[in-house]
Every structure is written in structure tokens, then in C-alpha cells.
Symmetry: C2
Subunit: 439 residues, 2 copies
């Protein structure tokens, strides 16, 4: 008998790799925070002596969900201004509130609220874009969740930095400070083509190459973004990025609701990634990302919730379902984005976009033990003819019972083990009072 | 002090009438199954002596949700065949399974599973279309939920009836048997224009007038339905119904993803109702119902989940959110279907479509006490800047804590009081084994 840390027996294991595989009555053996083996339960019991054993008779185990685009701290602004167009929402509500309130304290408390929500809904890694990325990295790491923190760059001054130079300088500091933290990695995060000028984009291109980092950017989110760029400079934003040398496998392009056929080809050729945020795109009436066409062209597509101010949740299970449902109607094909593809986008697709596919994104020996258990045994998810289908089309965030990140049990029978839920709610209530009074 | 049955104090009451109203720290006084009064909590405590008092400090009370189109018993087929086009799904999977399995026992067990799910997610009334409507009525009534059972008519024989004559005859018997049951009402339910011929449709028109019943029908669900009708008989299905005299305020037209401008006018003129089923329309790639245009034309729009075989849940809170999100992208206006309008469609819109607007659909003295309490105090729904927005965009089915129908407490702190959850799960598992083996 081999002694290991943890053995999780489950009714089903859906590893994502190989595609469409569903293992019944299997166990995952975990040691040193990594997946050691996946094997039939009976065999596992005969092979391993585990310090901790879990018996999850109604659950499916899946790789931890990767939220590939969010602004975690904005959870404190959830529902502040709904049912408004993107630019009005940004200019008249979100940016004024941010100017007034964003601080290291705001980011800390907002990220804790967001991480609590993400863990409770099966997200084990998030790709963030916001101010005070050092605080985000600290809060994520302390909670035990994996994060890719965006080294944000934007042309206008904020509480975090005064100009492009300072954004970049502070960003590099954050990168250096967290480089040995196994849960934290960094991406450059120029906000959007319409808010970042050429010079910082060129520096980002160079430094991203040197430091081997992704470049996380909002791109072609709305028709008006594209139209305004055409009017102003006679080219579409993607073309500008191409001319600046930013089209590469480092590109993590978020939204992409406006794409011409040649642009899809261009993206496929350069190896860039798209992060699809269906609920945010619907809510802000930004448009429809042609997901099936992107996949057909061989482009890697990840999923993101966007921030809670424009969604209004950080629920990747819900986002996966929305992505699968919406893609069918957009493609006019009920077979578009079947359940297995949706799950792959929400896991391995995200890992690939973030350059973490060697570490996470599927349940494979050697990868980190980032694992989520989802109960399919209740009223909402019975009968179970096809567990993968049930997971995507019927299960909800409330069915997530347990979450492990790097083998650490962060959600245990729906209780957070590293975060104090009541303290988070109390601080959220304090922020609400302050922001309400001044809104 | 006036003695009453129940007094529910809540943090918020969202009555739907008047529109956009949010009452803080109010109470609903209930007697004889009806809403007696809605008034500030302090005043309520001074006025009423209640047999049962509830103090819901984190909850919003809303009118019970009205699921205006479902096939409850099909919950036993949830997830049997996903990611397929409508006609292939019907012809090769659903109809064969139904031919093999549908019986009074199947309908009883399927309806119990569906009612358990609906109550747990805040639905207090459902408009059903399925075989054995007598069994559906019995099961609903026994569980204490309100139902409009469809007196189904379809040209082909099933376990329920052999031909149009028998469908109609048995339907009328069901209507007569349940006419004194306060929870049950009936609607004629000709399945769809492509499955019901002229003669039974004409009889339905006459009898619906005589008995004062709605006519519940799938209509313009897909492009191919419309195209096939044009090819076969040179007119669109709506035109055929018009010529048969079915366009009236009795018409409850489900789906309506294909509508020309004149058809919208025609519907508005006749006073017919549309039931929008956004998730089913997306999943089957049926198309996009132009909801904002329908509302702009003055047409009453209700919401439905459709059956769990094509959704795959009966979650009206989720459907309301999907409807609000999708309408914005379809209209190209982020202000389309704001939160208050979505809630109105899911409550009063349904009540109006079903001819029940004097009884249910809003929290107004004199109406039935069909009330749902939703907890907005947790991680997923905090902060609460606008309770109505939070309810639609952030809350989920799991936040439904309590449900009353006609003043009867059917879900009590998330426990069903009239249904045995374990027994339902056991019977569901038995059906799954039987259907799986023979699938």
C-alpha cells in the first residue's frame, strides 16, 4: 500500500482529457497537491492508504473551472447600475464609482467576496483585470485559489497609477514579487484599444515576450468600439493590434462580438485566444460572439463571467450553460457547442489561454489537484441519463459540494475553509452603506 | 387586534403591482388563503394577531412565479437526448420514448418530480400540456400547487387517446371533474398547427368560447414549421389559425420565434398572448422571439420553461434572467426588458395569459396568497443596491426559502411540506433504470 494525502472516490469522474470521457466509480489519488492517479475505486482502495478519504456517491468530479475574464473586486459594485448601455454604464456609473471608492481596502474586500462566490460555484482559477493587482494576488493566495492577476494599463490616472509608465512599472513590481508563488501568475492587461495608446502597447508586446506572459485585453466588445476606431483612424482595433505586433499566441482577446471572416482567419493564424463572456455580452447588448465559427477555425475559446457589475454573478457553471445554449441559436445548429465542448471551454480552454495547460484544466496525472465535486443526486438533476449533459444543462452552482485547489480542500460540504463568510458579508454591508449614501 | 392566519414580515416586498414598487420592512397579512393587507411591519404587528408569524429579515417577497408553458411529466426524460435539432429530437428520441413509457404512472411520478422542482424554485402555478391531464391535475392538487392542465389534442394516437374525438371527449371529462377544485383550471391544448387538423381546431374554438377556456398551442416555434406550412398549404400557421377563428384573447401562443411585422400587429389587435421560452428556443436553436417588439406593440408576454427534456430545468428564476439578458442582445438595447419587466412577465404576464389575473400574479389584497420568499442576504446576492435588479440578475433558485400557495406553506425553509423528496428520487431512479435499459 502506497501512502498518499488524499483519495477521492466519486460516482463519476469527467476528466475533460480525453474528450467526452466519463469514468464511473473511479477515484482520484492526490499527493503533494498533484493528481497522482485516476483509477477504478476498488483498485484505488487496494493500492493507496490515504490520510484523508472522501466518498462522493452522488457527485461528478470535474477539473476546477477557469474563469478567464473577470474584475473580481467589482463584486462590491454588483447591481449598482443595471439595464444600461456599455458606455453610459461605464462613463456615468462605474467609472465615477471607481474614482470615488477604489483603494487597496476596496480591492481586498471585493476580491474576498468574489473568491468566496467563485469557490462556492466551482471556480479554482480566475484571470483578473483590475487596479491594485498586488492586493488581488495577496487575497487570492491567502484564500488558496489560483489567480492570474492582470498588470493593468490604461491611459488615464486612477488610484493605482498616474500614467502608463507608472502602471507598467508597478505591474512589473507585482510580477516580480509573486514570481515564486505557485498559485499566482501574471498577465499584462492593457484595458482596451480605445483606452491604451500605441506606445504602452508596444512596450507591453516587448515585455510580454521577454517575461513570457499573456496579454489580456478587451477587444471588439461592441459595434461602436469598432465603428469609432474606423472613424478615428481608419482601421479596426484588431488591425491596429496586428500592426503593433500584438497578434500572437500570447493574445487573450476578450468578448470579440464583432468579427469578419478574415479576422477569424487572422486570429487562427496567429494562435491567439478568445475569451467568450456570453452573459455580459447579452446584458450590455454588446452582440453575439460567433463561438462555433471560432472553434471551427481552430481558435482556442475560453469562458469568462466578466465582473459582477455586468453579469451579475461569477458563476462559471451558469456561464457554461449560457454559452452552450446561446451558441446553438447563434449558429442556428442545435448541435453547436455540445455539453462536452462547453465544459472543455470552461476548463482546458481557459488553462490554454492563460498558458497554464501544463498545470491545470483537466484531470490528468501530474497536473495540479484543482478539482470540483458536483452533486447530481438531487431533484433538479435527476434522472441522470448522461452525466456530462446533466452537468452543463441542469446542475447549478448550488450543487457544487467540494472544491480542491492544489490538493487543498477549500470548500468542504459547501463550507469555505479559508475564508470567513460572515466577515465578508459584514464588510460588504459596510461598503454598500458607504457607496449607497454617496451614489 | 384582528385575528388572522398568517403574517409574514419581510425585508422587502415586491408586489409587481404597482410596477417597480419596492416596499421595505413590510408585512403581508394572510387570511382564508388570500392576501388581506400589505402594510409596514410595525403597523402590522399592532393590527393583527396571527396564528403563525414569519420574520424574514434577508428576504424579498414576490408573487409566486407562473410557469406558462411546460410539460411537467417530461421531467422523467430530462437529459435523455441533448444537443439535437427539434424534429430529430422529437421524431427519434422523445416521441419513441413517450410511445414506450407514457402511462398514468409515468405522468404521476413525472409530475411529482416536476412539482418538487418548481416549488423549490418559486413557481406556484404552471400551465401544462401533456397526456393524462387528469393525473397531472390530481398530482398538482395533492401537492397544493396551482395548475392549468392542458386538454391535449393531437392527430395521432397515444396512450391517452386514439383520435381527436377521444382527446376532446376525455379532455371535457377532466374539465368537468376538476371544475370545483380551486387550484386547478383547464385550457384546451392543441399541440401545434402541424399536428392538429382543422376540424378539431374548429371544435376547440367553439368549446373554448362556451367554457371560457384559454387555447394553449405551440406556434411558429421554428423557421421550418413556417416554411413547411407555406409549402404545404400556401399560408403561415398563424394565418391558418386566423382563418379558423382562433385569434382571440383566448390564444396562448407558445414560442413565436418567427414573426413578421404584420403578424405582430395581428396578434396585438386580437388580444392574444405570447409565452416566451428563451432557454428552450436557444437550446433547440429554434430562433429568437422578438420580446421587446411584442411588448412595444402592447402584447401580453408570459414566460415558460418548456419541458425539462428541452431546457433542462423548470427554473423560472433562471428563465426570467435568461429572458431579460437575451432580450437586450436581440433588441440591441441594454434597456430592453429591465428587471421589473422580466419579473412582471414571469408573474402577472402569466396570470393574464391564463385568465387568472383576478386571482394571482401580483401581491394585492384580495388575490390568493401565492407568495415566494427569496433570500438576498448571501455571498451571491450581496451587496443589494436595488433588490429588484438583484432578484433578477443575481439570485438563483437555491435562494428561494419559502413558498406559499393559497396561504398554504408548501416550502418551509427549503423543505417541501406536501411532497416526500426521497420517495420522488427513488421513483425517479426506478424510471431511469427502466428507460435506460430500453433506450
Amino acid at each position: 500500500m502506497q501512502t498518499i494525502e488524499t483519495l477521492i472516490h466519486a460516482r463519476w469522474v469527467i476528466p475533460v482529457e480525453p474528450t467526452e470521457t466519463i469514468l464511473e466509480n473511479h477515484a482520484i489519488a492526490i499527493h503533494d497537491g498533484r493528481i497522482l492517479n485516476i483509477l477504478p475505486s476498488a483498485q484505488a482502495s487496494a493500492t493507496y492508504q490515504a490520510e484523508t478519504t472522501h466518498q462522493l456517491d452522488e457527485q461528478a468530479l470535474i477539473p476546477g473551472l477557469v474563469n478567464s475574464h473577470t474584475h473580481a473586486a467589482m463584486s462590491l459594485l454588483r447591481g449598482l447600475a443595471d439595464d444600461l448601455p456599455l458606455m453610459e454604464w461605464l462613463n456615468e456609473h462605474i467609472w465615477p464609482a471607481e474614482r470615488e471608492w477604489v483603494s487597496s481596502e476596496f480591492v481586498h474586500d471585493g476580491v474576498q467576496l468574489a473568491v468566496a462566490e467563485m469557490l462556492r460555484s466551482g471556480t479554482t482559477c480566475f484571470n483578473d483585470m483590475y487596479f491594485f493587482p498586488d492586493i488581488t494576488a495577496h487575497a487570492a493566495s491567502a484564500a488558496g485559489i489560483r489567480a492570474v492577476v492582470g498588470l493593468i494599463v490604461i491611459d488615464f490616472p486612477t488610484a493605482w497609477a498616474a500614467d502608463a509608465d507608472e502602471y507598467l512599472h508597478k505591474g512589473i513590481e507585482v510580477h516580480d514579487r509573486f514570481r515564486s508563488n505557485p498559485l499566482i501568475s501574471c498577465a499584462f492587461a492593457p484595458h482596451a484599444p480605445y483606452t491604451v495608446s500605441d506606445e504602452p502597447l508596444e512596450r507591453i508586446r516587448t515585455w510580454a515576450d521577454e517575461l513570457d506572459l499573456p496579454i489580456h485585453i478587451h477587444l471588439h466588445e461592441t459595434e461602436s468600439e469598432v465603428t469609432a476606431a474606423l472613424e478615428k483612424e481608419g482601421r479596426r482595433p484588431l488591425q491596429r493590434l496586428a500592426e503593433l505586433g500584438l497578434l500572437s499566441p500570447r493574445l487573450v482577446a476578450v468578448h470579440m462580438t464583432r468579427l469578419e471572416a478574415e479576422e477569424i482567419e487572422q486570429l487562427a493564424t496567429c494562435g491567439g485566444h478568445v475569451v467568450h463572456c456570453p452573459e455580459s455580452n447579452l446584458k450590455l447588448a454588446s452582440g453575439f460572439c460567433p463561438v462555433q465559427k471560432l472553434l471551427d477555425a481552430g481558435i482556442n475559446v475560453a469562458l469568462g463571467t466578466d465582473g459582477a457589475a455586468s453579469n451579475n454573478d461569477l458563476d462559471m457553471l451558469g456561464e457554461m450553460r449560457s454559452a452552450a445554449l446561446l451558441a446553438k441559436a447563434v449558429a442556428g445548429q442545435p448541435g453547436a457547442i455540445p455539453a462536452g465542448t462547453a465544459l472543455r471551454m470552461a476548463t482546458l480552454g481557459g488553462a490554454r489561454a492563460l498558458g497554464l495547460e501544463e498545470q491545470i484544466g483537466s484531470l490528468v496525472p501530474g497536473k495540479a489537484a484543482d478539482i470540483v465535486a458536483i452533486d447530481l443526486g438531487g431533484i433538479e438533476t435527476r434522472p441522470v441519463y448522461h452525466p456530462l449533459s446533466q452537468l452543463v444543462y441542469a446542475a447549478g452552482r448550488e450543487h457544487v459540494t467540494d472544491v480542491w485547489v492544489a490538493g487543498r480542500h477549500l470548500l468542504k460540504e459547501r463550507t469555505l475553509t479559508t475564508l470567513d463568510e460572515q466577515a465578508i458579508l459584514d464588510r460588504t454591508a459596510q461598503w454598500q452603506s458607504r457607496i449607497c449614501i454617496n451614489a
